[in-house]
Structures are given as C-alpha cells and as structure tokens.
C-alpha cells in the first residue's frame, strides 16, 4: 500500500532531520534541518486526514516560527559555533542515556499491546472542522486570541529600547 510506504519514509525523514537538527553545532544549519523535518511532519498530518493542520504546520511552524528563529540568530550574530557554546561529550551522555531509557520503555509498553489496524474513520472536511470549532468551542478561540494579544504586548514591552529617562 503506497500511503503506508510514504508514511514510513516521511517518519524516517522526520526523525533523522530532528536528530541532525539537535546534534548540529551551527544554529542556522540546525534550523534548516528542523524545517525539513517539519515539512515531512506536515505531509504526515495530511496523510492522517488533517489538511487544515498540515497547512498551518507549513505556514506557521516552517514559515513563521523558523523565520523568527533565523531573524533572531542573524540579529544577535549567534552563528559562530566556534565560540564554544555547543555541548561536549560530557553533557551529551546523560541526555542520551535518559532519552534512550524513556524511548525503550515507551516502545516496550506500546508493543506489549497487540497492534491492530483500526477501521478507517470517516474523514472530516475542513468545512465541518471549522463549523465544530466556531460553534462549540468559541470560548477557546476567544481565549487563544487573548493569549496572542498578551504575547504581542509582552513582546513589544520586552523589545522596547530604553530611551530618555529610562536609560541608565
């Protein structure tokens, strides 16, 4: 089945891209690997019958957030891996050990249940999803908009240059 094969290929791309992003010393290269991983995740979302989330993943994650990271790295001139900010082997092995223990325990727990192919559920159209979202979860949408407004105000306050009597 071709969709299944595509899923496994995309899963491999996502995991390898994430590993390369985490282990890369240069921040800009790490962001680029992460964008690759996020694109494959977007196609996985599309395969899982969520085209709206897939589109938002490309627009917001791979587009806006990663560009924001790139802008901050460029603005603060942080793209110098030779400054010794990257972790050495001393800091890698505890993280590696803890993640490996967690991954192995998770895989053991999941495999001990018998994997059955679930019956395909009915696909939800974008129109249906949007109707559910705005009719039944209107309060949550309002709360999210408030949260974005607070983030905007906070970012403006933090990013303000000290001027006049505020300056030391």
């Amino acid at each position: 089945m071709i969709e299944q094969a595509i899923f496994y290929i995309l899963a491999a791309v996502a995991v390898i891209g994430t590993i390369l992003a985490i282990t890369e010393k240069h921040p800009v290269h790490a962001i680029m690997y992460l964008v690759t991983s996020l694109f494959s995740m977007a196609v996985i979302f599309f395969l899982l019958m969520a085209p709206l989330v897939a589109a938002f993943e490309v627009i917001l994650y791979a587009g806006a957030i990663m560009v924001l990271f790139l802008f901050v790295i460029m603005m603060l001139d942080l793209g110098h891996p030779e400054q010794g900010m990257s972790p050495g082997w001393q800091t890698w092995w505890p993280a590696l050990l803890l993640s490996t223990i967690s991954i192995v325990s998770l895989v053991v727990v999941i495999i001990s249940h018998r994997a059955v192919m679930a019956a395909p559920a009915a696909a939800l159209s974008i129109r249906e999803v949007a109707r559910h979202l705005f009719q039944e979860h209107g309060l949550a949408v309002e709360l999210v908009s408030l949260q974005l407004l607070f983030a905007l105000v906070g970012a403006l306050y933090l990013g303000k240059q000290p001027t006049g009597k505020d300056a030391k």
Binding site: I22, F45, L48, V72, M75, I110, A115, A140, G154, A155
Partner: protein, 102 residues
C-alpha cells in the same frame, strides 16, 4: 488509518524524547533550548492529530491548532526575552544569567 495507531505513537515518542535529549544537552544555549521545545510540542501535536484520525473526532485537530497558537505566542515572547537578555550581557549562555536581581 493508514498505519496502526501504535506506530504513530512510537514515532511521536521518538520525536518527543529526541527533543528532550536535545533540551538536556543544550542547556547552556537559549536558542537551541527553544528549538528543542519546538520539537517536543510538534510531537505532542502529532499525537493529537493521530487520535483525531483514529476515532474520527474533530477535537484532536482543535487541540493541535490551539497548541500551534500557544507555540507561536510562546516563541515570540521567548525570543523577545532572548533579545532583551542579549542586550544586557551580550551572550545567550544561560550560565551567565544567574544573579536574580532587578
């Protein structure tokens, strides 16, 4: 469902714990810590979307969209804070920000 739900859970767990390992390893660099948190939140979104596809329910997609909004708010605030801290000390090394004074 194109693959069993358990395999998607394994993929999401792999991504989440890779992000966790990166967060633990890069604990001296603010930017890479934020990147690792992005990876972890993305894995959580994958679980929600897979659950939505497994049970034919739209709520999982809503939570994925809400997580995305939350992430954009969190990243914009955190990066504004990184710029602010860099203006104070000219570094993003977390070990330099340890005095807790106003």
């Amino acid at each position: 469902m194109i693959v069993p739900f358990e395999q998607i859970l394994i993929l999401a767990g792999l991504l989440f714990f890779i992000g966790m390992g990166g967060l633990l390893a890069w604990r001296a660099n603010l930017i890479m810590m934020l990147v690792s948190i992005e990876v972890m939140l993305n894995a959580v979104m994958l679980v929600f979307v897979a659950g939505s596809a497994r049970w034919g329910n739209a709520e999982g997609q809503f939570f994925a969209i809400f997580i995305m909004a939350l992430t954009s708010a969190e990243v914009s605030l955190a990066l504004a804070m990184v710029v602010y801290l860099h203006r104070r000390k000219h570094t993003v090394n977390t070990d330099m920000f340890s005095e807790l004074k106003g």
